[in-house]
Symmetry: none
Subunit: 346 residues, 4 copies
């Protein structure tokens, strides 16, 4: 499918306090590259995104057992894109699939960070990534070892910036403490799940970090695995992704939540439908634009299994300006989950 | 009333990672000193506590507009206690009552910290306190200014250790970052509300700080203003403290919670009664002992309006060992509010 | 004269990035205290200011050969003001009047800073000032010596914050470099002349320092020695302050400028009169409000030789909100001296 | 044209406080390499300069869209010059021409500095440059990111020294603050426009930096695009460079200045002609020698479109010693633009 007429122009945002700019909508690898989308389909999605102005492509060593990185690297070469025009990321934590004795292919030891990054670069067939993330916190490894190792990755030219994913605010602040004491580079960005139904970290726990360190966010799951698109408004069909046991996060979600809580969520999401209708937009576009309305979000990482989905996501850019303070307040009332804000002085 | 026979021996705990020991049960100033207990009554409570082994007496510049510090200082002199045997604290933040133009008698600027401590020491008639707390976070003042000022208080001999009260975990970590970078003394202890009904900060947000910094806790409100004693099990009488509008925190609580949520809390507390009965202890003692069962708690600060209450509180020490893992699990099930624990590696 | 009805309420601003608040209009010592206003007149001015909400009183060791500090200290005691409610400053550089051999009573050596501050505190009869300024840069003394000495003044409890007066932006940045490298306290605020006719430093040279260090400004000469009040619109009377040879700054100004340039200035000031008329305010109030419209200004230091003048100055607070972007642009056009602004990226 | 007899011997100056020596006259790339001079002409100019003792050749990624670097690299190889005998520079900031999505090919982010340097080295076909400059300040990127990136370039062997171009004094001092705090390499040199008509930065704003950091200067535009050669003394011919719209800096100048201001400049320049005549030198040589008379200037970067021009420029070396204090004072009087000098103590 060719790029449709009238697609809104991409916008770019600085990644936190840095001098790097990322497209406000980006493409993420969890489901896309080398996952349950075939190789040619992935190429097509990446091309549709690139042609629409997406410059940030997000990956991880753990996605599809390393296949995501391989396919992403192939697409870059296939289309001959200029490396300078791209912001490529990967994440290190679960490298377990790639060794016979996986005890050291896990976590944030210096050994796994260095070996993991080298293996990722080889799969991507790149000399460096722009962004390297710690895919989760590793509380067995001293913070100093981890901070030193990521600083080393940057010093050796294999990445430009490092960040975290799903760390607590305290852990990010601790990483900065170690970095500051040693004169090393601290974490620039965090990659949390963020959407209308998950606000505690981004709008609560991290609050103080934006002003202290200029923390940037590249958020995933803006549609909460599709729940916020409204597609489950009549309940979950048996053949949905939520029944696919090979998708552990979703399965885990299902287990954690339970059917009752699940119905409560669906009910709340359904109340957002009239707002989308009033604005004349799809519910998914409303949810994605809502994420981008948060100034601390540098990029919303979207998945896609077809170029159509890529273009659909990008259309959400048109919705951002429609979200007036009044509509945002109305949404807050429906969601009922806005975390308390820090007061400057009591 | 004289010290009753059979009162359990006081226990002492190190205050976090420090070399200072505090009595696991301590006496706090919010209601006690110079509040709605009369002067002689306060003296008597302090003597009962001291005679029972309490060594830590907690105060604040804001308690009773400075009166609490005055009465506490008088009691120390009246009974001729050895200064070395005491751990005295106060807290700085709200000094607004003490000037015509209060703009600078508030918060954690260097000016107010220094002037506030000087005024507190004058009211206490002491040369130094053992512990000085920032009574709340002040997000208008840069963290560096606050950390430098508390370090200065310690350097100038006016306190031995400094800590925080009701800060977020991120803020405590940031204070440590600044202190570490500048080679200054970081915060040793935090004073949060902690009880069966309020566990998020102590068991959640602060988790990483115990192991990283040896953060110590001196917790207040172990009975949640008496709610956990079970005395409201049939509802709130009109003459209870919860109707006293001059107690802003409680009034605020009442307002924040609403009658429905309030009944839900009472119901949950009532379910704890059978456990207390089974152990043959009062419900208040169960609640207080439960707080002390948390190894990260260095001291539980209790209030008292009579020596009897002091002794009653101390009896809770006997209950601590009765709280087996099985009983704690049973309580967790009733409360349903245990925060997720940090995993070392996922 | 009693405080007039309808005087606008004082506003307070944080001093740069600090947690200290100063009244947006303050009283300065150059002409007022112990200068050509008599002692009782000075007391009256200070009382009028204090009663109007002024909390910041500015002085210097050099003002009236030390007499200004003496009179200011007397007023504080005479009226029994609470020290906490006041922000008192002095400045060190020219202490030459106080010794027989003045070679070391000048500049920013450690010797003169420490001896100068001690002498100032004695004259003020205070234990500390809130703010201590380097009254000018001293390029004979190494920056490290000066920064260490001011840090020492704060460490020894004789001041809370230190700053500079009429330093270049490069010198302030150099002071921060030394402070940062050594972990010492850097300069918080600068005291430049700032008014409609002198904008180069405040709006030009210092631009980058506001965002980098949260530099605060306490500006003097908001009316440019009365020129901006329009009182010289028909030329300079022979008995004006500009003929008083004992006021060296003014004499110097006269000499530096020359009659022709002087007339050119008068012409420009006269063009502001219609704007003041249109707003229905005095020209002096327009000029003072214009200074306060700059968010980087924490306080405008005014002089006064009578309570009436104090009240007159405070009335300028009402004018601040009347200065719309359109009017400010009109003023810029008349003045023609707005410095080029820093661009973020070219 | 062969090197003429009697050409003065080149002189060499240390680049600021460093141990590196550059020829006091150097050749710059803005107009020369790959610009409107053809390839063979550029080779010839470089050879003439090299044969006359010029060792410093200045370039930038932005000159002629990268072509300048390519031609300069070709000349070095063509003539087989020893790399050790050369001081080669380039500058990073505007790399926008080299990608489809230029958002990250601009400014001083770590990404663009690293990618920009790599691309420049490839075009130059060199392993390293001697000097790498930040071609402008980038106020969107934190100073720490920029300083770390240039330090990284030096650490990875791709340059020996780094500096700035057209930064303010405050920004250079801030770069040093960051470098000093982190133990990194600070900026050694600045490349400003400097000539008889533009003295504010070099003789004013930077004053304090020479003594503090030993800042070195490699100045461009010593003849102010030929204006100071006197060639426009009768007005501007239609075919002069000032009419060429494809030279944006000049066009910009023309637009910024206006015809009146332009004539005022010409008049002032014409007053310098008698001085040149009296000394028996060309006006251009006088202007260039005047720049070299400033001891803070390490090298004056000249352009040339033919070997003759190269030799002509070098003859200015003979004029330097003829500029006695009396003549310099006479020039100052004509120019009327000498910035106020810093006094050591007031």
């Amino acid at each position: 499918m060719a790029k449709p007429d009238g697609l809104p122009a991409m916008t770019y945002r600085f990644l936190g306090r840095s001098g790097l700019q990322v497209s406000s909508i980006s493409l993420g690898g969890w489901l896309t590259y080398g996952g349950h989308v075939d190789r040619e389909g992935t190429y097509a999605c990446m091309k549709a995104a690139y042609d629409s102005g997406v410059n940030f492509f997000d990956c991880a060593e753990a996605y599809a057992g390393g296949e995501s990185e391989i396919v992403m690297g192939e697409a870059i070469k296939k289309y001959g894109w200029n490396r300078n025009d791209l912001v490529i990321s990967t994440k290190i934590y679960w490298g377990g699939a790639f060794g016979k004795n996986p005890v050291n292919n896990l976590g944030l030891s210096r050994k796994h960070i260095v070996e993991g990054v080298n293996a990722s670069l080889k799969r991507l067939d790149l000399e460096y990534v722009d962004l390297i993330y710690a895919h989760r916190p590793d509380r067995k490894t001293p913070m100093e070892e981890t901070v030193r190792a990521f600083n080393h990755i940057i010093d050796s030219g294999k990445a430009f910036y490092w960040g975290t994913s799903e760390w607590t605010g305290v852990e990010i602040a601790e990483a900065w403490r170690v970095a500051d004491r040693l004169g090393l580079i601290g974490p620039l960005m965090e990659q949390p799940a963020y959407n209308m139904l998950n606000r505690a970290k981004v709008e609560g726990d991290y609050q103080f970090l934006y002003r202290q360190h200029g923390l940037g966010l590249t958020v995933f799951s803006p549609l909460y695995q599709g729940i916020l698109s409204g597609k489950y408004k009549n309940g979950i069909p048996d053949d949905s992704r939520f029944a696919q046991t090979e998708v552990p996060f979703i399965a885990g979600y299902w287990k954690r939540t339970g059917k009752e809580a699940w119905q409560e969520i669906i009910n709340r999401v359904n109340k957002l439908e009239p707002i989308a209708d009033r604005l004349g937009v799809k519910q998914a576009a409303l949810a994605l634009a809502w994420v981008l309305k948060n100034d601390n979000v540098s990029s919303a990482i979207t998945g896609a299994s077809s170029p159509e989905q890529v273009y659909e996501n990008i259309k959400a850019l048109e919705v951002v300006d429609k979200l007036t303070p009044e509509i945002l307040a109305e949404i807050d009332d429906i969601l009922g989950n806005k975390p308390p804000q820090l007061n400057d002085r009591e």
